[in-house]
Amino acid sequence: MTEAFFPEDHSNGSVDSASSADPAVDISDVMQKMAEHKGCGTEGGSGKASCGSSGGPEDMPAEIWEKVKNHPCYSEEAHHHYARMHVAVAPACNIQCNYCNRKYDCANESRPGVVSERLTPEQASKKVLAVASTIPQMTVLGIAGPGDPLANPGKTFETFRLISEVAPDIKLCLSTNGLALPDWVDEIAKYKVDHVTITINMIDPEVGQHIYPWIFWENKRLQGYEAAKILTERQLLGLEMLTERGILAKINSVMIPGINDKHLVEVNKAVKSRGAFLHNIMPLISAPEHGTVFGLNGQRGPTAQELKALQDECEGDMNMMRHCRQCRADAVGLLGEDRSAEFTTDKIMAMEVEYDAEGRKAYQQAVESERQAKVEAKKGQLDGLEAAGDMKLLVAVATKGHGVINEHFGHAKEFQIYELSQTGAKFVGHRRVDLYCQGGYGEEDALETVIKAINDCHAVFVAKIGGCPKADLTEAGIEPVDQYAHEFIEQSALVWFKDYLVKVAAGEIVHTDRGDAAIRQGALIQQAG
């Protein structure tokens, strides 16, 4: 299974072509083209593109909406309804990151770079068919590792080829560190991969050398400043090349307090100016038991408030993704759930699979109607919010998907967080509260974990809740709300918010700010049974 891993000919001026002295493309040209393509005003480079992750069909041109409307990663709206799967066909990597240690693979961990089985392209194709038949709302197939897809180009593109033959309605995407990206952009375009994610943690090699110990470049291991310089040049060149070809690019950045947290504002500007569609700033996942450099040297991740503040700051320039669950390279299901254990190689090889394209289409049409109903319901509650003035508050929601409050408090593996303000209800993040492998909060009981995770919220919306947790939440200053069971999230939150404003105005309750909350570092695990 030898394959041409890295292009033999890196010496062909490819490093030089990435330097700013001789840009491959004119950035202002690209920006303009991208802006026109997306139909978003760039307003001389300083204005905010009007389309993005939380947008609906009215916010963007039809052809972009078609690309993102059922992509759970590219559309926050879509992530309540549509599922994705990753196939782990790309184990090799061409760089080393301080937040990654490939040696540790635990089935109970949920973080990028971790996977339990590696698949051949043929197995991957069979798995996609099996999942598509079981989960009709699975619309997206991504290759995200566990190494770098473009460091395994033979396996990656063979997988795309096989899947586009058997399931042409499934969207293809990949996620890369960007080092090899410029060499493969044309191949990416050929296979109609129209969503590419690049992980960009820095645009300054001074910063980069603290994140990347080495890269493999032109048959050598390069370290330090030199390595980070080549990496950033290749990443930005790759992004420009994607933009030129009209391929939607999402940028992932890992927020590492004290190393690149402030710098990510600069990264945000750089990627926006090169036509990136969406920016996803994620918290560092770092614990000693992960065996990563950052985990072992005690580098902490950001708190919920720090993460949100940075996302809010960058949102002035560009739309931000806040619904990322930092999933495994073999994740299956809605974001926030992982059904990969149902689809191990042994199980899928034993499955009788029939691909029902028509059935899938019908199901997805039903999902679409459900979604429109939700949007309408929310619109109906937008009036009368002026009383909020400058007040902004957060609420947590227990949901199993479909944009509805449909999860029991005690069963929730995560809570979705909405910010309520004069302008409406906005999805701003999620907090995982599931039990975990090892470490994290140690011996603490589950309820304490939940309270820590949603400590910045004024209320928690649930389908049902027992008496004990209800009392404890109330004591912690978080109002448990169960009267909107099985109703739409945003509509219900706004009804509650207006009622809250009335009570504040009447002096029945005093509005106070909440504290910070913790971002869990542990693992997402399968619910028993």
Binding site: M1, T2, E3, A4, F5, F6, P91, A92, C93, N94, Q96, R102, K103, R118, P146, G147, A151, N152, F216, N219, K220, R221
Partner: protein, 72 residues
């Protein structure tokens, strides 16, 4: 001498296999191994042994002193 892979450290990431100029690396019993008869330590091909340069785990592709030094 040839290089060898410390099996307990190998992550099976496959990166070394495709880079080896001698096709000396293959998968066996759930880990990757180097055929000492084929390994040239990359002498004459590259400045550094490719398996060592790409391996994500330090001290995993190491000199196997059981074999004499390779001579080009």
């Amino acid at each position: 001498m040839a290089y060898k892979i410390v099996g307990s450290q190998c992550t099976n990431c496959t990166a070394c296999e495709a880079l080896c100029p001698n096709e000396a690396i293959s998968e066996a019993k759930g880990t990757f191994v180097i055929d000492p008869a084929k390994c040239t330590e990359c002498i004459g091909h590259f400045d550094t042994p490719q398996c060592v340069a790409i391996c994500p785990v330090d001290e995993t592709c190491v000199i196997d002193s059981a074999y004499p030094r390779y001579e080009a």
